[in-house]
Symmetry: C2
Subunit: 159 residues, 2 copies
């Protein structure tokens, strides 16, 4: 599991699509402007996202991209994997200095951990990221209203 700027761009762009879902196809030019990612770079990323069937495209004027599935069924791990194409492995399998069997121990520990991270990201879908944020904003607004009504000193509200 790698997690670089490339993956971040892809997730950000997919979130952008999710947020504007239902407004018809979204052009990469729009995303480029909104998210500050170069158009050509987005094109390369979306070529991969399309090959992995995470988005579908509409060509021609008024065209653009849409999520190919519901935002609630697209998981972060899929997105990251699509654009990052794990060269990975790096296993000591073919290594000369890894002959005693027990030596591989921590290598395997790492792959175990890596698998945990992957599963974690495989449980976070686009819709829930958006929902989580909206819930937080609602809570923030409510807290502010309470402040207005009860006029608690700021310090107590913090806690």
């Amino acid at each position: 599991m790698r997690l670089t700027a490339k993956g971040r761009y892809a997730v950000t762009a997919m979130l952008d699509l999710a947020v504007h879902q239902g407004e018809g196809p979204i052009s990469l030019a729009d995303i480029s402007e909104r998210q500050g990612i170069s158009l050509s770079y987005l094109e390369q990323l979306f070529a991969k996202l399309r090959r992995n069937e995470l988005v579908k495209s509409v060509r021609g004027p008024g065209g653009g991209y849409q999520l190919s599935r519901e935002a609630g069924t697209i998981y972060v791990a899929e997105i990251v994997d699509s654009v990052d194409e794990r060269v990975d492995a790096t296993r000591c399998a073919g290594r000369a200095n890894c002959h005693h069997g027990r030596e591989c121990l921590t290598h395997e520990l790492w792959t175990d951990l890596s698998e945990q991270i992957h599963q974690f990201l495989n449980n976070i879908d686009l819709a829930s990221i958006i929902a989580k944020r909206e819930a937080r904003e609602r809570a923030d607004r409510q807290r502010l209203q309470q402040d207005d009504i009860i006029r608690l000193p700021a310090k107590e509200v913090e806690a």
Copy 2:
């Protein structure tokens, strides 16, 4: 949160230390041989790990490195952060095209997610990675013994 080979090397090396904890200082040469990471590269990584007080060193013959704390109190996120020194930000804060406020939405969604990942890795300590593996191995061994005794067909055991 970045997650590259660099971070993997660091975590792997730290796991190696954790596994050999109690055997006195472990030299980087040992880790280099066991894990297949170049000595000089390890030196660079451990300079950072030491600055972040995750390991302590003993110089001279018989010297090496040891975890500065119990393996159960060292978390993966700390290790990754130590060596990866997030250039990060990449926030649109100073961006020209990010003026309408609402435009930043997905940027913020990403940082939210990033924070989630960070918290996840901040809850996994070295000892628990090792423990989890040992538990699994015990389970595997027991299953094998059961096979021996009951002689179930392999297919049923799988399920």
